[in-house]
């Protein structure tokens, strides 16, 4: 098969559309294997056939999302009402704050619990992987916990799942057990210091703010995980 500048695109089109007979197609494929330039052109033309349909779908999705966002934003008088409401709520909050120091200060920190991302690491060896992820990600920590323990039996070194064990225990208010799990991670000397953030959150949950502050200051000076949120969290702990 002779491929020239004149017949190249015709051959590629026939190959992609399946118009080429089997013998010619096999021959063309063997040429593709040794001709990188041609191979790139085939991929490019194949994508040109795909991109047009995708382009329409992309525009539709973008306009739908922008419409949803537009409708989601408060408008006009609603905005005025919202501003007044927020001012009133702020004043009420400050008043209540002076009356009591028992405000729940940890909500912001707790909201930072991330979803598990262990799929690519484990492959398919753990059959309940999805169940574990979905339970954990939907914040059903008590139900996720047995799956986490079971996973760790076969994958004892998976730091993210050990961390998930600690977070689950913390959410189940087993603070001391959670702390031990974080210490276990510290003992493994990981390069990612995510556990420190959760160790601090664990202290806050127990009302041990001074201990939490020490760890948060360490996070800030090391610029480790979530350091960007340390200042605002420390502010709430004053």
């Amino acid at each position: 098969m002779k491929i020239t500048e004149d017949n190249k695109y015709e051959l590629i089109d026939d190959y992609i559309s399946g118009k080429m007979d089997m013998q010619a197609s096999d021959l063309f494929e063997s040429i593709l294997q040794s001709n990188e330039k041609l191979s790139i052109e085939v991929s490019l033309i194949r994508e040109l056939h795909e991109f047009q349909e995708f382009s329409t779908q992309e525009s539709d999705l973008k306009s739908t999302l922008n419409q949803i966002r537009k409708n989601d934003k408060p408008k006009g008088h609603l905005l005025k009402f919202l501003v007044l409401f927020l001012i009133a709520a702020g004043l009420l909050y400050m008043f209540l704050k002076t009356l009591s120091q028992d405000t729940d200060r940890s909500n912001n920190a707790i909201a930072m619990v991330e979803p598990l991302e262990i799929v690519t690491k484990d492959g398919s060896t753990f059959k309940d992987l999805r169940v574990m992820q979905d339970l954990y990600n939907s914040e059903q920590y008590k139900s996720a916990y047995p799956y986490i323990l079971s996973y760790l039996q076969s994958n004892p070194g998976d730091l993210d799942v050990i961390l998930a064990e600690g977070i689950s225990l913390m959410k189940m208010q087993k603070f001391s057990d959670a702390h031990n799990v974080y210490l276990q991670i510290e003992g493994l000397n990981p390069r990612v210091k995510k556990y420190k953030w959760y160790m601090a959150v664990n202290y806050i949950e127990q009302g041990q703010n001074e201990k939490a502050k020490t760890i948060l200051n360490e996070i800030r000076s090391e610029q480790s995980y979530n350091y960007i949120n340390v200042s605002s969290l420390l502010e709430t702990l004053k």
Binding site: E47, L48, Q52, Q57, E58, L61, L65, E114, P115
Partner: protein, 186 residues
């Protein structure tokens, strides 16, 4: 892929407005919170969220695509990758070891974003062609036969359509391959 997770992909594929609103309501606040935790602004988080859904849409179109995690987990991975990439481009910020470690399946996601960038490059190069060329190629890429193209564009014969398509395709491919970014997107 479970039917439960299928539903989100189908919302995207079928332009299901109610379904897309459900994705927006359920996942945007969570993704925003996570992105803010790694230094992303609210406006950038919205941009990242949109782009991530577009990448998932382009993946979901492939017949062999299967979600190996929950939709939410996948969306978070894609969003984080997009944010780190955006920071790198906008602020010339390199990934720290810590950030690198949070991106577990970065290679796959990088390939998906590259494909999206290629699609956008094709679109921009198509717009540089003459209206006549664009029409021929749009019809051709839309699986129309040369005979049909000749009829619809009032060309003298199927052979004339073939010649025109050949010239325009050659021009388009030269424009794409001549773009400085093309090689980096392969």
């Amino acid at each position: 892929m479970s039917t439960h997770e299928d539903k989100y992909l189908n919302y995207l594929l079928n332009k299901d407005q109610k379904g897309i609103k459900a994705i927006y309501d359920e996942f945007l606040p969570k993704v925003e919170a996570i992105l803010k935790g790694i230094g992303c602004s609210k406006d950038n988080a919205w941009e990242v969220f949109q782009e991530s859904l577009i990448v998932i849409l382009s993946k979901a179109r492939k017949p062999d695509f299967e979600l190996s995690s929950s939709f939410y987990t996948y969306l978070v991975s894609v969003s984080k990758f997009k944010y780190y990439n955006l920071s790198k481009k906008k602020y010339n910020k390199e990934l720290t070891i810590e950030e690198h470690n949070t991106l577990r399946s970065a290679d796959d996601i990088e390939a998906d974003f590259h494909q999206l960038e290629r699609y956008r490059l094709y679109k921009s190069k198509m717009s540089k062609l003459s209206p006549g060329c664009r029409q021929v190629l749009e019809l051709f890429f839309d699986q129309n036969s040369l005979k049909n193209i000749a009829q619809r564009l009032n060309l003298s014969s199927e052979n004339a359509a073939k010649q025109k398509k050949h010239q325009c395709q050659k021009k388009l491919i030269a424009l794409i391959k001549g773009d400085a970014s093309f090689k980096g997107l392969l």
